[in-house]
Symmetry: C3
Subunit: 355 residues, 3 copies
């Protein structure tokens, strides 16, 4: 499948993990996760190597998991430490242990070669620890859609006018062209709509009555993190692009976790420079975001069904597709690079691959 | 698949279409249909050529459909007339426009080469416009069954004794042989059961008490329209075959729309020479037809499940199978002829076929 | 598929069959079964050779089945005795008639070559007719699991400590090794846990307060019958292995019927040398068995789902796997032997095989 393995993905908000065994699926791999007695989140392959029962059907004995079928027990490193009824434990009695890292109340997991995992690469931004900014975790949107389609939607400002006409967009932006910069590591697509009525979201949270200048900057970090910087300021301020902090500014973050070919989770949250500390505003914003993100979900799930049907012809591409097109190209290149790298590896003699 | 493409199929009763966008599926093709401001029913390929969102998820702007994702807009001929954010519209920005024809309150659609569509070929019969006859539209029976099995059942008078013993058949007909004529374009199978008790339907609607002569004529028009001419008359009249209008006579019409390999819709209606203008009788007849057609549905869906299972041996054929056998042979020939014709066509360079 | 065809399988308890037509599925074959007017249970291929309607959708005319579509009628030997509308009945108009045998209130069916069916091979044990023993039929446990996994679980005493900690096992047995004897036709795995607290089941039904000697003997008869001989006696008796009748002894019988690749039925019952004639005890035991067998079901269904997913490596085998490993090897050999035998047969010219 077209997944980038050597990358950090979000396994969940920090609050999703405790002393219970919990199965999560990421890149089609089943992982049993739990928070151990030291407060560290553990992620192990969720399948006993003996009879393949998911370890999440077993139970914790201290910080180790005991399989629910015959009691084989695995520690946090995935090593089997007990086989009831026999004294020797073969070296092959082990499961994969994933590299897990927690920061900003978010639990990240590295899905590829553990030796290449570098926690410095985990997504971060200074506003998380800036007291002038308020961070608020939203929910996990489950979509029956391929992650490439979900991510593509998040580097595509043009859809907002048509998909979210009552919340994040309105008719004023329909014909405003989109700027795209694909020179850096992060793909950026943006547009300013100047001197136009505010959209529903900023009528509600910016308190604007007259015309505003508003902006949408979509930053897509490879492979699966999107930052949408959007905001508004009174047109009278004639705001320069770099002075966006002087307006009402929101960063909507989307952490996409590919689950399988037809399934993705988009965990969304926001950072804002207004109503800091006001939980009521957080709740109201969540409610409005949910309206908008469910509009995306409806579109993306309908597209997914179409993509499974026979294709009569090649889809056409139009001007606004530059960001998505570059994104897909980069993903293909990363996947291809990993594939070539794998071919060069000697085969691990302990593992036998079936198709 | 074994569909005849160059043919008229029923897309719906006229009452099913209005100013709302409605997805219908015919021969596995998804079509968005609506009635435009001129009252004409339009049928377009239900998939935007850009990102494949079904157009039925968009909305009507006048008589044109605006896609719900990025606002690409298509007119009734399937031509793209607007791409927001750019001025040029490439020629490939279009969708298939189907030929649609409405007559007798029925909407027909041509699924093949538009140049071969001829509205003179649409099914019709003079009784539709004869004041001595009453036409009444029934319902749409959805069957999880292949259309060939559904159609076959409608050129098969022999099943009536066993599948519909309380409504359309009874034991008197069990051993009466079936006549079949396959010389003309329309396959006809029929039998008369003379001097026997009336079946439930005509006890109710013919008011017969003593013995009757009754008839069943099954006319199958290629590929998917069945006319069942059935009726009864007092045995004392010694009715000649050609004098059936002197008895109580019903034409039950079945318009089969193949949806997919395991799914068909049978829209059924009737014309009658009795109780003209009496809606109560229409309702009562519908109720009795529904009992009978649900009996067919149960049989046909059970057979469909069997056909998907492994076949141990070739099914046997018996005397009553002549009509169905000729029908299947003709369908195969029509499909094969279309396939050969397609091979001779030059490939349209604008379309790229993926398996 | 990996089924042994030349074998007796349980089609149901005797009480499951009467004058109604009932479809059962065994080894992926659909069979219509009913008890005829002589009290004999009949099993016929559940598919009319004409249009493939299941005969179980038809009705009994005396002891014969009349197909619900066109009235073709089959006797208890599977021979067609009537085709309405014609006088001759072709020789190929027949369905398979299975060999059925009823004993100990259990209905067995032979799924292979009828000439090889020998009722002497049907499972039996003297306790069925011994007045000192009480036989009680339990229920039919439906499992979405392959029969080999279900059977394997029944020659595996080691799982009891971990899967059934409150009913059939407890922690005392966790590290007690399992003895296995695979020399005879029946695979036997067993262990004694001496001088340990009784398990929940025998606290309830043995009335033990102090420590007991308890045993588990798992007998697996090829291909699908398991006998679990388990019991307890006061440790003070120092019971010899052969004197188990002096303790409280239960035979739990499991008759596994493979339905399809992912589906099995386990009909379970027991024989006991205690509380003979006491129906209240039977009920209580059933309740406790159901708790335990649903624990097995949960494990086996989770494993089934894992087996359908991609395999990363070959499962490991441990000491307790000897019984299951020999069992699987024997099944493979039996299946292979049948396959070789089939190749040697001349092809029956009346049957045409489609893939």
């Amino acid at each position: 499948m077209d997944y980038v393995k050597n990358a950090w993905y979000v396994a969940g908000w920090a609050s999703e993990f405790d002393g219970e065994l919990r199965r999560v699926t990421i890149l089609e791999e089943n992982i049993v996760m739990y928070r151990n007695s030291k407060g560290v989140v553990v992620g192990l392959e969720d399948r006993c190597p003996h009879r393949m029962l998911p370890l999440s059907k077993g139970k914790l004995i201290g910080d180790d998991i005991q399989c629910g079928y015959h009691g084989m027990t695995f520690n946090c490193e995935g090593k089997c430490v007990r086989i009831p009824g026999q004294t020797n434990v073969p070296k092959s009695a082990r499961v994969i242990a994933y590299v897990v890292y927690e920061i900003n109340d978010i639990v990240w997991i590295w899905m590829g070669d553990p030796d290449q995992a570098n926690t410095d690469d985990v997504f971060n931004m200074p506003e998380f620890s800036d007291p002038d900014w308020h961070a608020h975790q939203g929910e996990a949107l489950h979509l029956e859609a391929h992650y490439l389609n979900v991510a593509e939607n998040l580097v595509d400002p043009a859809h907002v006018s048509f998909v979210h006409p009552t919340t994040l967009g309105n008719a004023s932006s329909e014909n405003v062209p989109v700027d795209v910069n694909t020179n850096g590591e992060i793909i950026v697509a943006w547009r300013w709509i100047r001197d136009a009525p505010p959209v529903g979201f900023f009528e509600e949270f910016g308190g604007f009555s007259g015309n505003v200048d508003r902006w949408h900057y979509y930053y897509l970090h490879m492979p699966c993190t999107a930052v949408i910087d959007f905001g508004s300021a009174n047109t009278s301020l004639a705001l320069a692009e770099d002075d966006r902090n002087q307006g009402v500014r929101i960063f909507a973050l989307h952490f996409i976790t590919p689950i399988g070919p037809d399934y993705s989770i988009d965990r969304w949250m926001h950072l804002r420079n207004t109503a800091v500390g006001d939980d009521k505003v957080s709740e109201k914003m969540d409610a409005m975001f949910k309206v908008a993100f469910n509009e995306d979900k409806e579109i993306l799930e309908a597209i997914q069904l179409e993509e499974k049907r026979p294709q009569r012809r090649r889809p056409i591409r139009i001007a606004i597709d530059k960001g998505p097109t570059v994104y897909r190209k980069r993903i293909r290149e990363l996947v291809e690079a990993e594939r070539v790298h794998d071919l060069g590896d000697p085969v691990d003699p302990m593992f036998v691959h079936h198709d």
